[in-house]
Symmetry: C2
Subunit: 339 residues, 2 copies
């Protein structure tokens, strides 16, 4: 007998882990079917016939709408700007579509959209087009926002999720785990919300700072849904390489670690919205760190591991006591509506 | 004492009429604030620095998901293709973001996305990027889809909502009222659903057929939310002209008129998803009609009125018995979730 829940969409299908990948592979990609969506799923897509232009789209359903360090409006800008940046592109235009629940307070809607507009201006990005729909009470949850970003590649940069190579050093631009724990602890009304602030911010200027390295920037990815574990597993698969992390090098703030302990989460699974991983050849790693640290958003950049080993598609972590364990793709059911 | 409902979003705020315009003017545009969103609100926006490229975004929340003549998937393609076409542009890329309600049947999701993929291929349009989010049961209504379209202007065409001029003839490419009545009668489970079929279809090839007229194509608009009344009122305002319609020329199918009678709707307020109005100088009207009728989607094209008169911003209709009445902007509360 079939398990009925296998025939329905689960909350975890949206959380960026294995379930999301399954939904994409079994339903979404076969239906949309274009060859353009095959191959490595990058953060943003090249536009055929329009050299240097890339495009990306993202829906935002974070709950609650406001959390320490941000809100759904600023997040909708940062998430899309960062998807463009991960392809080595500067943002040039943004569109915004909102679905609003009947009865939402206009003041709350105004606050969200004002934050969105402010974030877009801070990123130097015009909002060119928009759309507004309203559905009945109980058919949405206040407001969902979809942003689409158009970007132009910075000359020389060609980062790709399939670009990581043996011998690369894995760099991380800042501490991990803050965004997801900030949202979740606010949602669950845990007491430590004031201590953990989302890292939500635009990363295109950090990527621009890396431009002098040119094609040595093999791979860029922002570890959002599914966290660092999902981002690195996708890169390991798409590039056909093994990634080995050094546990002692992972920048996990003490408050994040403590909150994850209370919430029963692995910090490697928690979404980030303001840091990136960069894969560069070992001999360029120091240059890359220096360039990243020249920007406020990369001031805490560190090396967290390397590309080596004989198990393509795997991510392993060398523990503090000298052991080794696999970092699996998260299943993705623990962290719904984090972005 | 303030009326509390004035401080909340109403269902009619999403219906494309006066309430939508108020929400845009009082909340959305001030918040997003960029000059790019000022001036006439076109169906698609020029992208600064990228000559000839236009972009548009649209959220689709139609209920029910399936209706005679289409579904939310095909509609999400046609609506966005048509917004590009109304700026005289060919579609070159599409992105798709879906928000899914937990518990939606995978088969239904697959059917919607397959229809979307089929419609995109039929329009010759690659789906370049996508995103999938899932929210808890009761926090969405099965699935909402946001599509963003990128287009390239057909050389020579520069239609604008602000381009209508005194002496223009107003052409309509086909009968009106079918989409909205098909959706509404399906939703309300009225008996005549089988008789009325949505006109949902892509219009970019019809626009391409008009290319020989070049800049004589002053204005193109597809009368979607808010119907022909909203589209023409927007053009009258943005162009600063009076539009006079000939009631006897309006192509309203008998079944649509009958359904509108039962539903208490004005056919001029009902959304269409497969026809357009074109404003061309009087002396080019016959050429335009001939070109439109060369395409299946324009075979029933007719002239419905002209630009003349001394009341800029007004739309009037000459009735069959020789009288005249104003065609107001619909308020927009009668037809929620029609697209």
């Amino acid at each position: 007998m079939p398990r009925p829940d296998l025939e329905q969409v689960l909350l975890g299908h949206g959380a960026g882990g294995r379930l999301t990948a399954e939904l994409l592979d079994s339903v979404v990609l076969p239906a949309l079917a274009g060859e353009e969506l095959r191959g490595p799923l990058e953060d943003a897509a090249d536009i055929p016939g329009e050299d240097g232009l890339v495009i990306t789209t993202d829906g935002f359903v974070v709950s609650p709408l406001f959390f320490p360090g941000g809100d759904i409006g600023s997040l909708a800008v940062h998430g899309t700007v960062n998807d463009l940046a991960m392809r080595g592109a500067e943002p040039i235009a943004l569109t915004v579509a909102v679905v609003i629940e009947e009865g939402m307070e206009l003041d709350e809607l105004r606050a969200v959209l004002t934050s969105l507009g402010t974030a877009a201006r801070a990123a130097g990005l015009p909002v060119l087009a928009g759309d507004t729909k309203v559905v009945q009470r109980g058919h949405a949850d206040k407001v969902f926002i979809t942003t689409t970003g158009l970007g132009r590649r910075i000359p020389g940069l060609r980062p790709s999720a399939a670009g990581a190579r043996d011998g690369d050093t894995v760099l991380l631009s800042g501490p991990i785990g803050a965004h997801g724990t900030a949202v979740l602890s606010t949602r669950e009304q845990l007491g430590f919300t004031a201590d953990i602030v989302s890292d939500s911010r635009p990363l295109h200027r950090l990527v621009r700072a890396l431009a002098p390295l040119g094609e040595a920037v093999h791979t860029l990815r922002d570890p959002t849904r599914g966290g660092l574990a999902a981002a690195l597993n996708e890169i390991a698969l798409d590039s056909g390489v093994q990634i080995t992390l050094d546990e002692t090098a992972l920048p996990i703030p003490g408050q994040v670690a403590a909150a994850c302990g209370i919430l029963g989460l692995d910090p490697l699974h928690v979404a980030n919205e303001g840091c990136l991983v960069a894969f560069v050849p070992h001999e360029r790693a120091q240059d890359a760190l220096r360039l990243m640290r020249s920007r406020p958003e990369g001031v805490s950049a560190v090396s967290i591991g390397q590309v080596n080993g004989t198990r393509p598609g795997r991510v392993v972590i060398r523990t503090a006591i000298g052991g080794e364990r696999t970092v699996d793709m998260p299943l993705g059911e623990q962290l719904p509506r984090i972005c």
